[in-house]
């Protein structure tokens, strides 16, 4: 009876198994197709989202870039970027003294060092900021001469000039001098700041 049962049923069972296999394969294939399309869509959507974020950032960046480039151009024009030019600084001091009729001045510049920075100071990327401190001594007719010197030197020196301290003392009266005598003596500390790219340093 079992043989007879097998004989009568095996084609149907085989067909059923093939049908099940076919059905499973059909569903699996179509599910795979759908999954693939979904992955592609997600990938494209993600790429589009990222691009749109970059686009929005670029639009924002554009103005920032223009501003920053203008600043860098100004730095270059002023000689802040590059090696410091101490000869130029000396020439400017002489010129200012001559043009504004100032008394002689003395200056001393120790070796250059790295510009100090605090914990909250922004990093400079691959640029390094340097500082040369200048000690300046001069006699003045009035404090306006000092202000003219500092302003003119800050404008013309090939560096960013930062005044860190100034002391103005009144000089004792010289009695009846033939020429106007200095009334004040000024001693100032200046910081001349420049910046250089690390690649330029290695060269």
């Amino acid at each position: 009876m079992r043989k007879e049962t097998f004989r009568h049923l095996w084609p149907a069972v085989l067909l059923l198994m093939l049908t099940v296999a076919g059905a499973v394969a059909l569903v699996a294939t179509s599910a795979r197709f759908r999954a693939t399309q979904e992955e592609a869509m997600e990938s494209t959507r993600s790429g589009l989202s990222q691009l749109r974020t970059r686009l929005a950032g670029l639009r924002q960046d554009e103005q920032e870039i223009r501003n920053q480039m203008a600043l860098v151009d100004r730095m270059r024009a002023r000689g802040v970027i590059g090696n410091e030019d101490r000869l130029q600084w000396m020439e400017q001091l002489r010129r200012i003294k001559r043009e504004h009729g100032l008394y002689d001045l003395e200056y001393e510049i120790p070796p250059q060092g790295i510009l100090a920075q605090g914990a909250a100071t922004p990093a400079a990327g691959r640029f390094r900021f340097y500082s040369s401190r200048m000690a300046l001594r001069m006699d003045l007719l009035h404090e306006g001469d000092l202000l003219v010197l500092l302003a003119e030197f800050a404008r013309s020196a090939h560096a960013h000039v930062r005044t860190t301290r100034c002391t103005i003392d009144r000089l004792p009266e010289m009695g009846h001098a033939s020429a106007p005598a200095a009334q004040l003596r000024a001693e100032c500390q200046l910081e001349l700041i420049t910046a250089r790219h690390q690649a330029e340093e290695r060269q």
Partner: protein, 501 residues
Amino acid sequence: MPAKRILYFDGAELCARLSKRGRLQHEAAFRDEEESLAAFRRYVRSHRDSQFFLVADVADEGFQLEVLPHVRGADRAALLARRLEQHFHGTRYQAAIGLGRQEDGRKDERVLFTALTRPQALEPWLGILSAEKACIVGLFTPALTLPSLLRRLIRQREPCVVVCLGARRIRHTFTQGGELRFSRLTPLSAAMRSDPAPVCAKESERVYQYLEGQRMIPRGSLLPVLVLVHSAQRAGFEQHCRCTAELHYQLIDLESLAKRVGLRSPLSDSCAAPLLSHWVSRHKSMPQLAPAPLRRFHRYRQLRAAAAGIGATLLGASTVTAGALVREGIKLREGTQALELALAAETTRYAGLSEALPPLPLDREDLRALARRYESVEKDSPSPLDLFLPLGRALNRFPDVEIERIEWYASDESPAAHDGEPGTAAFARIHARLPAVVDLHRRGIFERLDAFKHSLNEQSLGVVLEHKPFDLDSARSLRGDTSGSGWTEAPQFVLRVSPRD
């Protein structure tokens, strides 16, 4: 769909009918003779793919009603098989019909055992069918068929007798609550066949007496008798089957009943065989008497059909599912294509914006870092001019204040400020004095000093008196006189001045 063929055996003749769309088509009649049996074999062989429904309308039918303990599963099957063997030994055409459980007591099960007690009459036919591997759906009897056929009519009547006629017999079937109890076949002689109504009435009385004697009905109760009769013979039955105190006859129109159950072939007389054949072919799930081995080819066909049905359903479902998945996939692909178009457009826009940017002299990050650092350097570069200008304006109003020394600092050099925080306020320390000719009163000096401080405040400068002209602190010494001769030395003081926020 395989063809349905009903083989109606009345003990002498086997009539083969084909059932098709509610119509019965008589195909052949066979007798238990050698030639006829051979013809039957050929008939079966030529229609081997058909489903064969056997109806045995014979007198040799036994019924036994029992109440058995309620068991389940294999125990129940074994109990029923044992009881069947006890009641109907010698025949394999038997069945146990469960009639439900009693409502009280142990709630035992009521079972009707029934069988064909003379199986030899069927052996030639079933032997041929089995040898030809024909698909036997079941072996039915009119007694087993009538309750379901007349369910609506007999359920309300408890109990009742159903009378149906054959070509050469009349059958009385007793039911209670719509369930079969027993059936009795009375042959009709040739003379009685033309007018079976008197036989019907007489046999109905006998059946009543039997039932009364067996206490299957209360003594003297009124028993409904439903007679299936053709309209052509109705008058004769109305004449002979008259209601009495014990029997209440109701004539059921056979043609109307046939129409109601979907039999479209016309009926020519009161023979119920066509109606029973039609009903059997439509309702396979009725009780039947063929043993499982005889029905095995039908079972194989059912299994093959089930497998095909499952396969087709599975294939259909998977096709629908696959179709839905593919449709979704196509929609997703269309969505992806739209996104790709948008991506291309945005890429073009991005490229255009990038090209519109001036060429960067530096890497973007270097540019940003350099600019930000330099901005902080610029922010951290106060000028002495910021303090000197307002100081000068204040001094213009106080020419008597003589400045001896000005110390200007870009930031507070106290230890707390050594971390070089940007924007630390610049300040100046002013060493000054008032002339010695100022009013001798100390109070006047302080008033003058306060006025000077107030003038500095007006220039938006914050002022702190670091060193007073003279110390009035109670912890220190104080020296002076009241002569009012003036100061020999100009009172000196030190102010710390810084921009006010």
